[in-house]
Structure formats: C-alpha cells, structure tokens
Amino acid sequence: MGMPSSQDKRPDPSPGYSRYLKSQKRAWWGILLSRLLILAAFLGLWELAARLKWVDPLLTSQPSKLVTTFRELGFEGSLFMHTRVTATETVIGIVVSMVLGTLIAVLFWWSTYASKVLEPYMVVLNALPKVALGPIFYILLGDEYSVYGMAVAISLIVTIMMVENGFKELARTKLQLMESFGATRLQMLRMVMLPASVPNLIATLKVNVGLTLVGVIMGEFLSSKAGLGYLIIYGGQVFQMNMVMVSICMLALMSVVLYGIVNVIGSYMLKKGFHGRT
C-alpha cells in the first residue's frame, strides 16, 4: 500500500540491469524457439512415418494431405461455413448462459427461500452428465436448437454456482457498509454486487468458453446438419481422416480465437470498472 506515485523519473539502466534485461530477452526467445521446434518435430515425424509406411496413412492421415484437404474444403467446400455455424452457436450459448446464470444467481441471493428450495435440484443437475439429456433436447427442440440446449445445459449450472459463490463472499464484507446507510436490496445489487462481481464474472466467462464449446460440439455430434462437430462425425463415418483432422485443427484455432476475444473483453472491463469511474 504505497503512497500515490506520480510519474517516476526513470534514470538510465545500470550495466547490471541491462545485462539482466538482455538475459531475460534471450530466455524468452529460447522458450519461443523450443515451442516451435516441438511443433515442427511432431509434424515432421508424422509426415515421415506416413511416407515411409511405418503407419497406415489411411488411418492416421498426414500433414501434407491435410494442407490439400484444407484447401479443398476451405475454398471449394464449406469448411468456413461450418466454422461460422459452430462459432455462432458458441457465442450465443455463452451469452445465454452468462445472462441466465447471473439472473438466477441474483434471484438466489435476493430470496434465501428460493435458494434453499432449489438447492437439491441444483446439486442433482450439476452432478448429472448433461450429455445424457441429448435425445430429450433433440426431440423437444429439433436438430438446430438442440445444439443450444446442450451448450446452455453444460455451462449454465456452473455459471450460477460461480456467480453465487462470488455474491456470498461479498455479502459477508462490503454489504455491511451499505446496510449502515440503510440501502435497499436493489441499491446493494446495483452499487455493490454487480460492480464488485466483475472479476468473478470474467473468470466465469473464461470457464464458459471451454464448457460451451463442449456443449456445442456434443450437440452437433448428436443431431445437427452443420458445424465442425457435424463435419468431424461425418468425416469419421465416411472414413475421411483428412476431413476429421482438418476440422479438429479448425476447431482448435477457433477456440483459441474465442478465448483471446474473451481475454481482451475481460481486461477491458477490469480496467474500465476498477480503475475509473462507474
């Protein structure tokens, strides 16, 4: 807890410090290089094994074929369409479960009665493997919307629990002050619970990216007619390992991008919420 600092004047770094900075930089490059090396070695070995018939390329596919398949699927086929479908489903799934989950958590905080009544149901729903609900979603919601059903089913309960836990923590500390000023529940919610929950909401959002993707792909496996999950299952059924592998790579890429976007949104919200005026 230091005194407020204005701009520190920074003197020229001492020789020792320059050396330290240089060695840090060197270490960083070393790490990056090693990472790339692992990837290259993996791909190289895979290609080599397939070429020299150590393994059956029909079963394992091979990197050079993947590039061709990617080009075929990407530019003549519908790879990007499928990616877009999956991405849209995931984003909508995340938004729905975040909003719904936060609302339900607020309800639970507002009404101890509701929270107590619904507690055992939450426990059961949390423990239940949501994939088992697949056929129900398919029958009730049809092939397109059952994907959303699955996505939300998998991420909603966790969202509620994480947000609710954050609320409970806050209720023990900051609300005491609000009470001393005679604040209403709505004021507590607006002035403390929601702004103070921002870091917790961001953490929940990050967890949700992974969970919702699981739900979306699972839903697509079970029922859909489009999306990367569909492409992976379809490729498996027609014994097209190239198609399966390309779809998986695309999926990996997509999830990294989604995670990156969430990270950016998260740090923006933290900066705005916690270091400026509300």
């Binding site: 407020p4 900051k174 609000m178 009470e179 000023f181 005679g182 004021q187 002035m191 919420g273 509300t278």
Partner: protein, 259 residues
C-alpha cells in the same frame, strides 16, 4: 434532552442450535456533542449495541430513542464508521464519498461539493481522483470517516475504527478523528477494547461486562490540565493512569479475552 436514549434494552440472537443473550438491561443517556467510549471484553456485545442505536437491529425488549423518538430502521441521523473501511475499489475516492449520499437519494451536486470541502479541510485535497488502493491504511480510514460525514449525520458510531491499523497510524488517526468530530460538532459513540484509546478520546467512558452484557461502570473523564485536551495530551495528563487502573480493575473481574 438526550440525543441517544437506551432504556432497559435487552437483545438475544437466535439460531436453530441455540439462543444467545447478548445484552441484558442496558441503560444509557447521551447528550448532544458528547463523545462516549464504550469498553468491554471481546464478544461482549459492544458492536451489537451500536447496531441497535443505528437502527439496524431491533431490541428484543426495551426501547432505543434517537432525539426522543423510537428507532424504526436505519436513521439518517446516524452515521456508522466500521472497523474496515470498505472502500469500493471500482470507484475513485470522490465517488466513494458519495456512496451514502447516493443511497439516500441526496442532491448529488451538493453532496459532491460537501465531499470536496471535507477532503480539503482534512488534508486529503488532491486525492479525489485517486483509487482507494493508492492510499495508505490511515488515509483510507479518514476517507471512510468523511464518507460518513457527507450524509451529515448528527451522531457518529465508531466500531473499533482503528483496530486494523498499526500502532503508529492508530495514534495519529485517533488524533485526526477526534479533531474532525469535535470540529464538526457531532455526537460520537466509540466502541473499543483499547482502554487508553477509550480514555483519551472520550468525555465519558462506559464499561461493559461480558455476556450477557450490561453497563457496569461509568467514568466522566475530567482532567485538571483543562478542557478540550487532544487525545495525545490526555495520555500525558495527571489523572490518566488513575482512570486507566480503575477501568482495568472493572474489566479484570470480567476476564478480558485477548483477541
């Protein structure tokens, strides 16, 4: 007429497992502008008493009067300063100062003006735009006090406001808080387990017994050195030790639990 009246108040807490009698037959009258300290062993219900005066709790029996009227919910005449400052880290200092004003739907412009004046007056001008985590512990508590003053209460309840600080900041802050409260002409009730803090701040010290608590002794604090001594001066004053020893003896019979 006394500004705070506590008449034969008892309070019990109920949980499914047990019933705890926290207060039994507490009586006190506090005059406007008085500074009262309440000392007692840990867990004796000192904070409970403050919650009763603020209106956050209702007594199981007895009456709590503010300005002669029975409390009904949190009174706007009462301001509460808590052990922890509870500054919101998502708001800057000025915006934190307006929390109480906002809750009570006071005019924002006027509250902001008052907040700035108070910051200026008590040596925190220039910090309005800072974030709470840029302030030291003592500064944070001063901001917390000003936050309470912005709503302009007549009565200030101080619930061990210095106990989270190191000894040095404690002495300095006690000095500052005393000066601010006297300067603003507020009635104050300070709850503490620190006997010397109680003597040095107050016009009158009340001693509470352990649970179920009641008030077992009252000491009007008067020094021959004069009226209106600062807490620091009081600690050096002649009768200080005498008061300290008497209160210590009162508490001794009731086993102080160290915290």
């Amino acid at each position: 007429m006394s500004i705070i009246g506590v008449r034969d108040v008892s309070l019990s807490y109920f949980t499914p497992k047990q019933e705890t009698e926290a207060l039994r037959g507490v009586n006190m009258e506090i005059e406007p502008g008085e500074f009262i300290s309440i000392v007692g062993p840990s867990g004796c219900g000192k904070s409970t008493l403050l919650s009763l005066i603020s209106g956050m709790l209702k007594p199981t029996s007895g009456r709590v009067l503010i300005d002669g009227r029975e409390t009904d919910g949190v009174s706007p005449k009462v301001g509460y300063m808590l052990q922890r400052d509870h500054l919101f880290e998502w708001r800057d200092v000025l915006s934190n100062l307006l929390v109480g004003a906002e809750i009570r739907h006071m005019d924002r412009e006027r509250a902001a003006r008052r907040a700035r004046e108070l910051l200026e007056r008590y040596g925190l001008s220039g910090f309005a735009g800072h974030n709470p985590d840029q302030l030291s512990g003592g500064m944070r508590q001063r901001v917390a006090l000003i936050r309470t003053l912005v709503t302009d209460p007549d009565i200030l309840l101080l619930d061990e406001p210095f106990s989270a600080l190191d000894y040095q900041s404690r002495l300095t802050l006690a000095e500052d808080v005393f000066r601010i409260i006297k300067d603003q002409g507020k009635t104050a009730v300070l709850v503490t387990h620190d006997i010397s803090e109680a003597i040095s701040m107050a016009d009158r010290v009340l001693v509470m017994s352990k649970r179920p608590s009641s008030i077992i002794a009252a000491y009007p604090i008067r020094f021959e050195e004069g009226e209106g001594l600062s807490p620091w001066k009081k600690r050096e004053a002649g009768k200080y030790n005498e008061y300290f020893n008497s209160i210590w003896k009162d508490l001794d019979g009731h086993a102080i639990v160290s915290r």
